[in-house]
């Protein structure tokens, strides 16, 4: 029977693949692969049960550290890691397939088996992948994208590969080099802001992984991971909700945060959606996470608000992230169920913040509650994540803070005598003169 050719064209395939990911997103995809490789080798327990990422004690020392080095300059992009390496067999049979292969091992962050290819085709036209795994030969895969695309024969969906002798690259390491960068990529890379933006994106995406597990450097400078803390004390405690949805573990933590070092409080406020340790939505203040819908629109008085939703699953494809891992798949049933819990946990926090900074004409501000907030120190999320389900709690303290303060200081006798003369009160005590001077200042220099 005659057949109509339905084979995809390489041009369309690459075009569709690369369109919906940003350059920063593409680089994060490459880092995801490095982290997955590290976890497979050093922490397979995290792969089998990603929820254990949240159970690591805040102060626990990580002894095995993976390194990812990203470098870009002129017309070259390079990423190197020592996170385990790729076996020759995997390179030959799996990693360059477009899509996840059934025989692929589990992965925490690699979802659809396209991140690597999408990133490389996004960045440039000449690609080399070099790796060596302790258990097999090293290899080099070389791709001339233009030449590969030109040959549209269905039998040419492969890339040139050759074995490398041991020592060509250190065992357990992988290096990817892309040259002939696309003009739109080159102009981004050479702009004056790309490096800073990339630092921020990486720090945000991996900030909630266990501290020190992965050291990521960009052009030799270590990326500072974002630090999210939540206020916790005897008088104020975050809301915690644990749930399981279709086999996916979900933990919701909602409370009040504080400004990051050198930053503004408003910058960290909002919702964080985290899938298998990877932040896919950071400091969100939009309708995606309920603001302006079940919650009021985000307002400056909500700046202390923080909500973090962790989703964990050994089946990464079941998590509610978008294909480019830069957002939430809002129609996923998992997210919709979690969303209801998020809103329920958040409302008491919003009411608390509304009371702290009431608009004029409404209930008066509450200095006691503000003191409770300010005096609570910030703790890491792991410190509270293992607690049982609890609602947001603020101590119903009624004790008002003192309204007076004792002022004591020394003054030269001659100055007090001069003041007494000016006041025509030669018999006043020094204390009375000072009190009068302060009242005078308040009356004449300070607005009501």
């Amino acid at each position: 029977m005659p057949k109509a050719n339905a084979y995809p064209t390489k041009t369309l395939f690459i075009g569709m693949l690369t369109r919906d990911v940003s350059l920063e997103g593409a680089i994060l995809d490459l880092i995801d692969n490095s982290i997955d490789s590290f976890l497979r080798v050093k922490r397979p327990d995290f792969i089998e049960n990603p929820a254990t990422l949240l159970q690591l004690d805040e102060g626990q020392t990580i002894t095995d550290i993976g390194t990812v080095e990203i470098r870009f300059a002129n017309d070259k992009f390079e990423i190197f890691d020592d996170c385990g390496g790729i076996t020759y067999e995997d390179a030959r049979d799996n990693i360059m397939r477009f899509g996840k292969v059934a025989s692929d091992g589990k992965a925490a962050l690699s979802v659809y088996g396209i991140g690597l290819k999408r990133a490389l085709f996004k960045i440039g036209k000449t690609i080399q992948i070099i790796s060596s795994h302790p258990s097999s030969r090293g290899f080099r895969i070389s791709i001339d994208v233009n030449a590969w695309v030109r040959d549209d024969d269905p039998d040419t969906w492969y890339f040139d590969m050759k074995p490398l002798p041991k020592g060509a690259i250190a065992d357990g390491c992988t290096k990817i080099v892309v040259t002939d960068l696309y003009p739109e990529i080159l102009s981004q890379v050479m702009s004056g802001t790309f490096e800073s933006r990339l630092h921020e994106s990486i720090g945000e995406a991996y900030g909630l992984l266990p501290r020190g597990m992965i050291n990521i450097r960009v052009n030799g400078v270590s990326v500072m991971m974002s630090e999210i803390v939540i206020r916790d004390s005897n008088d104020i405690k975050p809301a915690i909700r644990h749930l399981s949805i279709d086999g996916i573990t979900c933990t919701v933590i909602v409370g009040a945060t504080m400004r990051s070092a050198g930053g503004q409080a408003g910058e960290v406020a909002g919702w964080y959606i985290v899938c298998n340790g990877r932040v896919v939505l950071a400091a969100d203040k939009t309708r995606v996470t309920g603001w302006g819908r079940e919650l009021p629109s985000f307002h400056p008085k909500h700046r202390p608000f923080i909500g973090v939703v962790y989703f964990f699953s050994e089946n990464a494809a079941a998590l509610p992230w978008t294909t480019n891992k830069q957002g939430v798949h809002t129609e996923s049933r998992v997210y919709q169920d979690a969303y209801q819990e998020m809103m329920q946990a958040a409302r008491p926090v919003i009411r608390f913040l509304d009371r702290l900074y009431a608009a004029s004409g409404e209930e008066p501000e509450s200095p006691v509650q503000r003191d409770i907030l300010r005096s609570a120190s910030g703790v890491g999320l792991r410190s509270v994540a293992s607690r049982q389900n609890a609602s947001f709690y603020v101590s119903p303290k009624k004790k008002e803070p003192p309204t007076t303060v004792r002022v004591q200081f020394d003054v030269k006798i001659e100055d007090i005598e001069r003041a007494k003369v000016a006041l025509k009160k030669p018999n006043w005590s020094g204390r009375k003169v000072a009190a009068y001077a302060f009242e005078y200042f308040l009356r004449n220099e300070c607005s009501e």
Binding site: S187, S191, G192, H199, G262
Partner: protein, 298 residues
């Protein structure tokens, strides 16, 4: 110094007299007067945003060639004719802000090749209003200020210790260079060639940076403008800024010194006491120090 540079650029083939000059002339219009009188520029815009000064600016306008733009700098930049070549001097008298960076970026993205952009900002420690009177600001506050205003334009490798008072000129230079790099990154075959990087103090420590938007044609003309012989020209941002030191001397002392300039290294003034350092400072800048007759431009 700017005038001498533009004279050399004219010799190198740039039709400077055909450029449009846009600056913040304030009430004195010194820049406008100098550029029109000594460079022959006839298209002159002076930007004044403060409504309280508009009537005085109108009154003090030095000639009918000057158009007063009563709007923000950004609105003026948007209105510049892209078919012309420009000298645009963003002469701010305050510490760097996000709005200033927006102005510089917009100018870099839109002005034609051959145009010269200059920017002047104050590089002393920024005022931290929310601190209150009883607290002394320090590097952490200044870091927070610059990170809020400049965000991605600051290199990621900096820490709080890089924001001491004496580090701020270098931080400002980094930020402004990154703004210009970003604006050029969207323009194929075009680069921003550094020309000026001055530090000087009148009432505050000020930084003036500038350069030219160039294609190959402008690069060739720059090369034949003999700018490298000018000690104050900076053709790379890596070079330290040229520090303009103006000695405090009277008009009478100047008239005396001008008769003996350029003096030898061992020369000493006999009729009044002037330190060796001040004499050397004057020798460095006297060719560019406008005489009072030149300054009587009204």
């Amino acid at each position: 110094m700017l005038l001498e540079t533009f004279r050399r650029l004219t010799q190198g083939g740039f039709a400077i007299d055909n450029y449009q000059y846009t600056g913040f002339g304030a009430l004195q219009f010194v820049d406008i007067k100098l550029f029109s009188r000594f460079l022959g520029i006839r298209r002159l815009w002076s930007v004044e945003h403060a409504e309280s000064l508009w009537s005085r600016v109108d009154y003090n306008k030095p000639s009918s060639l000057v158009e007063i733009r009563k709007e923000t700098a950004n609105a003026t930049i948007t209105a510049l004719d892209w078919d012309l070549q420009h000298i645009l001097w963003l002469d701010y008298d305050d510490t760097l802000s996000a709005d200033m960076l927006q102005d510089l970026g917009d100018a870099g993205r839109s002005l034609s090749p051959g145009s010269v952009i200059l920017i002047t900002v104050e590089v002393e420690t920024p005022e931290i209003r929310e601190l209150g009177l009883d607290k002394v600001p320090g590097p952490s506050h200044w870091e927070a200020y610059y990170r809020e205003q400049a965000k991605y334009y600051l290199p990621p490798s900096l820490s709080t210790s890089d924001f001491g008072a004496t580090d701020l000129p270098a931080r400002n230079i980094e930020i402004l260079v990154n703004v210009l790099r970003e604006s050029m990154s969207r323009r194929p075959s075009v680069s921003f060639q550094p020309l000026f990087n001055f530090l000087y103090k009148d009432s505050h420590l000020m930084l003036t940076m500038g350069g030219m938007i160039c294609r190959d044609l402008e690069l060739a003309k720059l090369a034949s403008s003999n700018l490298e012989s000018l000690s104050f020209i900076r053709r790379s941002w890596i070079e330290k800024p040229y520090i303009i030191r103006v000695p405090v001397i009277t008009r009478k002392e100047r008239l005396y010194l001008d008769r003996v300039m350029p003096c030898d290294d061992g020369y000493r003034v006999r009729v009044f006491k002037l330190g060796k350092e001040e004499l050397e400072q004057y020798r460095e800048i006297y060719p560019y120090f406008p005489s009072f007759s030149e300054l009587m431009l009204d």
